[in-house]
């Protein structure tokens, strides 16, 4: 499947892009993160501490154990600081 992956705040800065299209067979978010980490150092660095990373699937907050079946858009970002 092909996913659109979005990165925000320091994840965007560390990875160096706001979005990309990724073709993957990853079953869960955790599998996708594991795959991204092996790509390049900048991904490994961005995903080095998952306690500092949140994920949204198709614009709904989710978690790393969530399945990716049927998902089109995955977003990774730090804990939100609105208000």
């Amino acid at each position: 499947m092909t996913l659109t992956i979005l990165y925000f705040a320091w994840l965007r800065e560390r990875i160096g892009l706001p979005r990309e299209s990724v073709t993957t067979e990853a079953a869960t978010v955790a599998d996708l993160v594991a795959e991204l980490r092996t790509r390049e150092d900048r991904y490994a660095l961005a995903f080095s501490d998952l306690r500092a990373v949140r994920v949204a699937l198709d614009q709904q907050l989710s978690d790393f154990s969530a399945p990716l079946a049927g998902v089109r858009e995955v977003a990774f970002f730090p804990p939100m600081t609105g208000g």
Partner: protein
């Protein structure tokens, strides 16, 4: 009921007056305004990034949850993104209810959820450079008192 996400500055006084006019008959209106701190004069500015596709939906969900919990005749969430200077308005919430306690509680609920469930990220520009504002544990803890939440 309204959710607005915009880069442009807003006029808090005018927004409050318009909200109160639209809430006539409610009995109680509570408004809250969030400003860019100046950190004792050390802050040069702030940049707020957001997730355009998700922001509106997340804010609308928070507002819907508030309306399910309290009797609100009107509610407004207005949040800016982009660049802003010290002292500038970042966001506001307003609630209108027949009862003051409900208007206060709903406004606090909206604020608590905005802090850690709406996809905004603040970056501060200071004398030592730029830094992303880190989420505080107490912001997450503040949600616990509203459980079960959205």
């Amino acid at each position: 009921m309204a959710v607005r996400v915009q880069a442009e500055p807003f006029d808090y006084g005018a927004e409050c007056a318009a909200f109160a006019a639209g809430a006539a008959g409610a009995g109680a209106v509570v408004t809250f305004l969030g400003l860019v701190r100046d950190n004792g004069g050390a802050l040069r500015g702030m940049e707020i990034e957001h997730y355009p596709g998700m922001t509106q939906t997340a804010l609308a969900a928070i507002e819907t949850e508030a309306r399910a919990r309290w009797t609100l005749t009107e509610a407004l969430i207005l949040h800016r993104f982009g660049a802003m200077g010290p002292g500038e308005a970042i966001m506001m919430v307003a609630t209108a209810s027949p009862h003051r306690a409900e208007a206060f509680a709903a406004a606090e609920f909206l604020m608590d959820y905005l802090k850690s469930r709406a996809p905004f990220w603040k970056k501060e520009f200071g004398p030592l450079g730029e830094a992303w504002v880190e989420a505080r544990d107490q912001d997450e803890a503040a949600l616990a008192r509203w459980q079960p939440g959205p």
